[in-house]
Amino acid sequence: MHRSRRSEALELGSLERRLLNDFQHHLPLTPAPYAEIAAQLGTSEEAVLAALQELQGAGAVSRVGAVFRTHRVGASTLAAMAVPPERLEEVAALVSGYDAVNHNYEREHRINLWFVATAADDTQLTQVLNDIEQRSGIAVMALPMLEDFHIDLGFELKWT
């Protein structure tokens, strides 16, 4: 993908590093949050916005926004399929084609295709999974979250 190629060459200055590491949570809930971040970092609002735009363009930042606790809004589940290796690309493309699917990975296991599906409610979610099962002819194993043990404090980045 063009995007990830660009980011391999991504060079991070100290402003970028601090934006990435220090603001994964507690974005100021004030009318001009980027100006407030800028004040904390001793720079201008314009510089913060430009850096965030560049990080987003390079693919290092997916968005500045909210991470929702699973299941508090709508319905979602992790799902997995054991896809014959020769069909993996085809089935992965089929799965990724759904708006309801937001993560889709190949993992090293006999059960090799893992994705997260999200919909407005359980009925729509079930429809999506059934549809994938029917179109691919491969069973879909639904593994919904039952209990969340993780407290999301963001992820501490270690620079090499």
Binding site: H26, Q56, R63, F68, A92, F149
Partner: protein
């Protein structure tokens, strides 16, 4: 496919306005001087209402965090593994909390077993700069939580076919990325 275990919606405390706000914010905050005002304009709320509601959604835990959402792989964290354990049901809560506390664990969930194909009931996600770094972290967890003898598997990711924020809006609203 057993869908009985699908979770129920916890929508009791979510108002219509919240729902519109959630729909508007799922692609991220606009990178403009007054993002909450811009967001409000998209969903018919004032800047003040947006800030008040986001504050409430954070306080009641609907939103886990508000901030910069990084993509690990692009930042040099090339290895990520889903580590799964088959933990006796009566110990899963205790050990889940033990594992979920590590700063390098980005998710830690209990999920149903799907026997016989899938015996594992605790799932966590670990990112690292390479495979060895991830395996070292798995060992660290095993030692600290004393679960070296618990059956587990490490499923490294190979290819990423798709990654973006979740979209909760009904399909008929036509939201796409």
């Amino acid at each position: 496919m057993d869908m009985n275990a699908l979770p129920r919606m916890h929508a009791e405390n979510i108002t219509d306005a919240d729902r519109r706000l959630v729909t508007a914010i799922q692609h991220g905050l606009p990178l403009v001087s007054h993002p909450y005002a811009a967001l409000g304009a998209q969903c018919g709320l004032s800047e003040e209402e947006v800030i008040t509601r986001l504050t409430a959604l954070l306080a009641n835990g609907t939103i886990k965090r508000l901030g910069v959402v990084v993509r690990h792989r692009e930042l040099g964290y090339r290895a990520n593994a889903m580590v799964v354990w088959d933990i006796p049901d009566e110990r899963v809560s205790e050990l889940g909390h033990c594992i979920g506390r590590f700063e390098f664990v980005t998710l830690c969930y209990r999920r149903p077993r799907r026997l016989p194909a899938w015996p594992y009931n605790l799932f966590c996600m670990i990112h690292g700069q390479d495979r060895d770094a991830v395996l070292e972290r798995v060992q660290q967890i095993e030692q600290h939580c004393q679960i070296a003898e618990v059956p587990h598997e490490v499923l490294f990711s190979r290819r990423r076919f798709k990654q973006r924020g979740a979209i909760y809006a009904p399909v008929q609203h036509g939201i796409t990325v």
